[in-house]
């Protein structure tokens, strides 16, 4: 069984594509479409890496980082997917403890490389 990846993105089309690519890359992917689902999942299970979009319903990517780092006290690597021109959110994410970020449009291959790098750190 490969490394567990939590993919949190409300864009189901992109998420399914990334899901497909990550599974093809050997990762076990759990996809959540909103912040609530992410929170519930994280209470039960902690993945090896979290890939999350910043803009999500109920629970943003920033809040997710805060939740993981401060409430769950977890050091799980977090990669943020942000839209172009959303640099301020990226900076905030890094301040809260994000490990990496990738901007849309996303290159699935690039994301795979970044995930691998963060897991292998």
């Amino acid at each position: 069984m490969g490394k567990r990846v939590l993919l949190a993105d409300d864009d189901q089309l992109l998420a399914s594509l990334l899901n497909f690519r990550l599974k093809k890359g050997g990762y076990s992917v759990h996809h959540s479409v909103n912040g609530k689902e992410v929170k519930e999942y994280l209470k039960n299970e902690m993945p090896d890496i979290i890939v999350s979009d910043i803009m999500m319903p109920y629970f943003s990517g920033i809040e997710l980082i805060d939740f993981v780092r401060n409430e769950l006290k977890s050091k799980t690597p977090i990669i943020i997917i942000s839209s172009a021109g959303n640099e301020q959110n990226v900076l905030t994410a890094f301040e809260l403890g994000a490990n990496d970020f990738i901007t849309k449009p996303v290159s699935p291959t690039e994301l795979l490389v970044r995930i691998a790098r963060e897991i292998n750190k």
């Binding site: 864009d11 089309l13 992109l14 399914s16 594509l17 497909f20 690519r21 093809k24 849309k104 449009p105 996303v106 290159s107 699935p108 291959t109 690039e110």
Partner: protein
């Protein structure tokens, strides 16, 4: 299915390759359905936005491979502008370069959405698209569209920007403006002369953009043109030019800016001129607004310096006063018990001083009484000086210098006697200076008084001047009338100044002074107006009564009094009243008096002032409304006026007389006008009225009741 296509790799296994081929066949079957084809197109377009890199390329290839772009081509031929626009967008998103030739024809489309979409597509699809666009566009390029086009160019990989200066000569001003912005963005400073020439463009935006380019590219050669353009430029352009001069200009532009500084009236521009001057020549223009004058601060500094100097002097004086006293007291107390150690210390201190002073010190130390006296004296003098030191001593500059010098000396020299001597000198000088400097206050006060007195005497004259002779006369009259009659309360008055010669006839005859003005009786004081002759007094009483109650009818009486009476006072008063009543209009009651000529006719005055035509009109009116008052006027008119007027007056007179004769026939000779009830006839109601009253039940209306009431009253009155 799409994922399989997107992430298909040549390194995949045979099974995977077979699977890929099967999926391809399935998709081709599926897209035969329009709905499925549209869904697939939408999915691919959506993914195109989120994917980059290799996945994006694969996605675009899939799109083309499946022939979905043919649908977009069909959209271009649609008659609906939104369909055409979506077709252009689709081809642009999927980077269908082959569509370039089809899309360029929409670049000047009259529908703005299609046109704008085509502009972006043309610029996006091919590198030469921007050239084609700039060459051919005829329409306005909106600001937002310019930004979008610039964004497309920015993100275009390997974009080799053309020389946008070539389009500075375009006829479309928007193309020129956009080109200037592109020149600035791509730092194409080759078109220097073209940009400088555009400073003279009529379009303000182009002017402003050209100035921005000049500023960015630091075109020094543009300075003369900037100055040339400046006078006729708008406020915004002026500010931009000044900004550019500040960036590009040198000290050679200072004269131009100084000229502008003196001529410009606009607040913002003037401020910009100043900032530009400071930019070229830092600190050349200093703040001037709301800056207090130097005198304001100088006076404050002087006060502070004076206070500090005074405090220093005060402290020094206090120190010099207290220290010796303490020391000397200690010395006096300890003198019998001086140890060898103390003596040695003192001797060391003495040896360190100059010989002369040391000798003085030794002499002074030997005589303690003398020291005490001197110290007390110094304390007194110094304390006095300390009290006076609260006053501003800024004028004592040399003294201050001496103080400083003295302070230094005091600090250096440890010997108390030297301190005392110098202090005494200082205090003496201070006293002298203070005395000298306080003196002008006294002098100024005296001068002030003198000035006031001189001022009053020379420049002011009294509004009225009392005649001394008149005052003396009044006093004498009063003293004469009072003097002989007073009781013991008046006996103390000095009557020696009273002389009979001083009394004039106008006031009182000496012989007539028989009765006192004031008589003291048992029950009080009675006043007697006996300060003038009885005859004169009576006349004055009459005059005052006339003044209070009389009118113009008293003119004869007044004239008579004035003529007969010899007293100047009476004559004066009578004449005053005559003048008063001459201009006084008669009282209303007199208008109706029989002997008053003013009661004759109201037409008289108007008639005398009127012209002939008006006179005729008046006579006509008199004829219709006149009464016996007009008879006199009409008679005079008949006698004096022209025949024409006399004829009219005669007619009026005859008419009035006839009316009067008719009236006299009915009016009794003697009528008591006081009673309205005393009439010699009775009101007889006609039979018809009586019947009418009876039928109306007698008094049903207010009028009937009033009539019946008056009849009953009448009957009651007549018994």
């Amino acid at each position: 299915m799409i994922n399989e296509f997107l992430f298909f790799e040549d390194s995949n296994t045979k099974e995977e390759k077979m699977n890929y081929l099967n999926l391809k066949i399935q998709i081709r079957e599926l897209i035969k359905n329009d709905f499925d084809r549209n869904v697939l197109t939408e999915v691919l377009l959506d993914l195109r936005k989120d994917l980059s890199g290799q996945s994006q390329t694969v996605l675009i290839d899939l799109y083309k491979d499946l022939g979905l772009h043919n649908d977009a081509y069909e959209k271009l031929s649609s008659r609906k502008w939104q369909v055409v626009s979506s077709g252009i967008l689709e081809l642009t998103t999927m980077e269908v370069d082959e569509s370039y030739g089809l899309i360029i024809k929409f670049i000047n489309h009259r529908q703005s959405t299609i046109r704008k979409q085509a502009e972006i597509a043309v610029v996006n699809l091919k590198e030469e698209g921007i050239k084609y666009f700039l060459d051919n566009t005829k329409y306005k390029i909106a600001e937002w569209q310019q930004l979008k086009l610039l964004d497309v160019l920015r993100h275009k990989p390997n974009f080799n920007a053309p020389q946008f200066g070539l389009w500075l000569t375009a006829t479309n001003t928007h193309v020129v403006l956009f080109s200037l912005r592109l020149i600035k963005y791509y730092n194409q400073n080759e078109a220097e002369q073209s940009i400088i020439t555009l400073l003279k463009h009529k379009n303000r935006d182009i002017q402003a953009e050209a100035i921005e380019c000049i500023k960015d590219f630091h075109f020094v050669s543009a300075l003369p043109t900037l100055k040339l353009v400046y006078p006729k430029a708008s406020h915004d352009i002026k500010i931009a030019i000044l900004d550019a001069i500040g960036e590009v200009g040198s000290e050679n532009e200072v004269s131009f800016l100084e000229f502008l500084k003196s001529t410009e009236r606009h607040f913002n521009i003037k401020g910009k001129v100043n900032s530009t001057l400071n930019k070229i020549n830092p600190e050349s223009v200093l703040p001037t607004k709301n800056i207090s004058t130097a005198e304001f601060y100088e006076s404050e500094i002087e006060i502070e310096e004076t206070l500090s100097t005074n405090n220093e002097i005060k402290k020094e004086v206090e120190l010099s006063i207290t220290e010796p006293v303490l020391d000397i007291t200690m010395e006096l107390n300890n003198e019998p018990e001086l140890s060898e150690e103390n003596i040695e210390l003192e001797s060391v201190a003495i040896n360190s001083l100059p010989n002369e002073e040391t000798e003085g010190e030794i002499v002074n130390e030997t005589s303690t009484d003398k020291i005490e006296d001197e110290v007390e004296l110094d304390i007194e003098v110094a304390s006095d000086s300390v009290e006076q030191l609260d006053i501003d001593l800024t004028f004592l500059t040399h003294v201050n210098d001496k103080n400083e010098q003295a302070n230094n000396d005091v600090e250096v020299v440890e010997d108390e006697e030297v301190k005392k001597v110098e202090l005494a000198e200082l205090v003496e000088e201070l006293e002298n200076e203070l005395t000298f400097n306080f003196l002008p206050f006294v002098i100024e006060e005296v001068a002030y008084k003198e000035e006031i007195s001189a001022f009053v005497e020379e420049d002011f004259e009294p509004l009225f001047v009392l005649d001394d002779g008149f005052i003396d006369e009044q006093e004498e009259v009063a003293s004469l009338t009072l003097g002989e009659r007073t009781t013991n309360e008046f006996e103390d008055i000095d009557w020696s100044t009273v002389t009979a010669e001083a009394i004039t006839d106008n006031y009182c005859e000496p012989s007539s002074i028989d009765e006192p003005l004031v008589s003291f009786e048992s029950d009080g004081i009675s006043f007697s107006a006996n300060f003038m002759p009885q005859e004169e007094l009576d006349a004055m009483v009459i005059l005052e009564n006339i003044a209070e109650l009389g009118d113009c009818r008293e003119l004869d009486v007044l004239q008579n009094i004035a003529d007969k009476n010899s007293s100047a006072l009476v004559k004066e008063r009578a004449n005053e009243l005559i003048q008063k009543f001459l201009y006084q209009s008669p009282r209303p009651t007199e208008l109706f008096s029989a002997d008053n000529n003013l009661s004759e006719s109201v037409f008289t005055e108007i008639y005398n002032l009127a012209d002939e035509e008006t006179k005729l009109m008046l006579l006509s009116e008199i004829k219709s409304v006149g009464d016996e008052k007009e008879i006199h006027l009409l008679e005079s008119v008949i006698k004096t006026e022209s025949k024409f007027l006399a004829k009219a007056a005669t007619e009026a007179l005859e008419n009035i007389k006839s009316q009067l004769s008719l009236v006299t026939e009915f009016i009794p000779k003697e009528i008591d006008n006081d009673s309205i009830f005393d009439v010699d006839f009775e009101i007889e109601l006609s039979e018809s009225i009586k019947r009418n009253i009876a039928s109306n039940n007698s008094g049903s209306t207010l009028f009937d009741q009033l009539c019946s009431m008056s009849n009953s009253l009448y009957k009651k009155k007549n018994g």
